[in-house]
Symmetry: C2
């Protein structure tokens, strides 16, 4: 059981350290942790946000536990050297095509969201976002047109197999939940979306028990405000998924608690908190490590089938919350180590 | 003063009829109304959602009052014949490049939004969305790749003059408000956004009094949930603007009250409620015409400089709301005509 730990920038090292303590406390058979550099930290040490060594390490492991990347001091660098490229590179190089972002309001934390409690408490959705295609990875550039004007351009596209693969992920996820899948696109404007919709409809035939609906992305953004409780699983492309999954996370209020999984075909996956590198509080022992600890639980479940251990971690976090342990992001006082200790004590 | 009235589908004819009654009641000098067909209605009568005659009418007028388009019975048609193409065609053909979408919570209606009242009451923002470029109007298609796979593709792009033009609109709008402009893009992934950002920074030099910030679109979708009161003016591209303006509208709760303007260079503009054609209640006299009446006020202000008359309409709507006149969309009982009467009585 070889797991890569890429802490990254800002609070990344502090929050992954606590998740590692939790993993180690579980007495997993032959757990081996391998550390690698990513993001701004890696750029400064190796001249690249995703050094070849790091990629090698990931390839030699069964899963990656990821902290966060993002570092203002790299803002002046060319795009391909910026910290965010590490995460895009890992997704592409490791074939991490399916991003799972569950959003549920934790019991007792309904008061943290800006939504009315009666709206927020009904949120229990999963966003399945495609991660390897779309306008993220198409050709792109800035060119000078014949008449001398500069133009920025990016090619958006999806091929049928890319859509089929993520559609299956969406339908399977729905089968394990309330069997409702909403596919989000912009088929009234985009041909990419038209193909997306056609393929999702094809794939739906293999999942007759799942109730499939289609929604335009602008309407989805409205419905997530109006009535987020209507959604079970949402499946969508890379760009729309980026926007909607962040919107949905904020509806939950407690962004310091939300974990995510980015899965390849097979069991390999990368697991990370959805919050960023929070440079403002980095190094101060203030970051809430719960989202990273919960990401470690997802890692055990998805990459190693260790459901019991995953559930133990989740229960321990739930108990810590129920006992009033709150990081600064949740309006509390508990520091990084203290929260890690609290979870460990309840394992 | 020649104004085109394009009622369109569903409730379009009912709501524009009330706005027309309000315009006529103002005793405007030489107001001439010219009617034209758009949307599904136009497709059935003329075989096209945006017939050449309709475009001609628009071109002969100083402004267009628009109802809504959208008709399920057209869902099977090829994309270029669907009702929504009427609105895309009008935007492009008439050079309507700037969409202004104000979002403010009306006093006394704070209880209609799903956001907590203390969050909602601070919303007072304007979204300036570019309407003539981006992935909406680039080349697009569905092709078969060499290996036989189908692929949907759409070209996203912005040229510097397109960005410059809408940036000026954004800065000018900010100058007339709280002097804060937030430009939303995805410059960490898209070259289109990188050019967008570069040009916005250039244009900013001409508006030293405006405080400019930049935000990634995923973060903007989060911030609109977390603290929408932080925004004054948001300027963004066509696709991101489509999503964020709908999200912001729903934050306000009372979507039956929100008007919008789509402006060309000079004084020409198209004005429409942001709600859709609502086929479920069409023809029943149930639709709330307030958003269309408020669109008529925007028309007087932006296309004819008739600030006094615009303000009279807005005040009349405000008084009607204060007096408890509520359409079904606001949880009330008042029908279309009754609301029109109520506004007229308070002009
Ligand atoms: C950092 C950025 C490139 C990335 C994305 O847009 O995918 C981030 O927003 C995310 O969602 O993981
Ligand atoms: C109908 C559709 C093409 C249109 C758009 O995406 O621009 C609509 O959503 C809007 O915002 O006016």
């Amino acid at each position: 059981m070889r797991v890569a730990v890429f802490a990254g920038d800002g609070i990344g090292s502090e929050v992954t350290a606590e998740a590692v303590r939790v993993l180690e406390a579980l007495d997993l058979l032959k757990l081996e942790l391998v550390y690698g550099d990513v993001g701004g930290v890696a750029y400064r040490k190796h001249g690249h946000p995703l050094p070849a060594e790091t990629l090698e390490i990931a390839r030699s492991c069964g899963a990656v536990l990821f902290g966060a990347v993002g570092d203002f001091s790299c803002d002046h660098l060319e795009r391909h050297l910026r910290p965010e490229q590490a995460i895009l590179g890992l997704r592409k190089e490791l074939g991490l095509f399916a991003n799972l972002r569950p959003a549920t309001v934790f019991k007792g934390l309904e008061d943290l969201t800006t939504l009315r409690p009666e709206v927020a408490e009904k949120i229990d959705l999963l966003i399945v976002r495609e991660l390897n295609g779309d306008v993220y990875f198409g050709e792109k550039g800035i060119r000078t047109l014949d008449d001398g004007r500069r133009q920025g351009w990016d090619m958006m596209s999806y091929a049928e197999d890319e859509v089929r693969r993520i559609a299956h992920t969406g339908f399977k996820a729905a089968m394990g939940r309330r069997r409702k899948l909403c596919s989000v696109d912009k088929a009234n404007v985009l041909e990419t979306s038209q193909l997306w919709r056609d393929v999702v409809i094809e794939v739906a035939k293999e999942y007759p028990e799942v109730e499939l609906s289609h929604m335009y992305v602008d309407n989805a953004a409205m419905q997530l405000v109006k009535n987020p409780g209507q959604f079970d699983v949402i499946v969508t492309g890379n760009l729309f998924g980026d926007i909607l999954s962040d919107q949905a996370s904020m509806c939950v209020g407690s962004i310091g608690l939300l974990a995510s999984a980015s899965l390849a075909e097979g069991t390999f996956g990368l697991y990370e908190p959805i919050h960023g590198s929070a440079p403002d509080i980095a190094g101060k022992g203030l970051a809430n490590p719960m989202a990273t600890i919960l990401s470690a639980a997802m890692l055990l479940r998805h990459s190693y089938g260790l459901e019991v251990q995953a559930a133990r971690i989740e229960a321990a976090v739930g108990r810590a919350l129920a006992d009033g342990i709150r990081g600064g992001d949740l309006g509390g006082q508990a520091g990084t180590k203290e929260i890690g200790d609290a979870v460990l004590a309840r394992l």
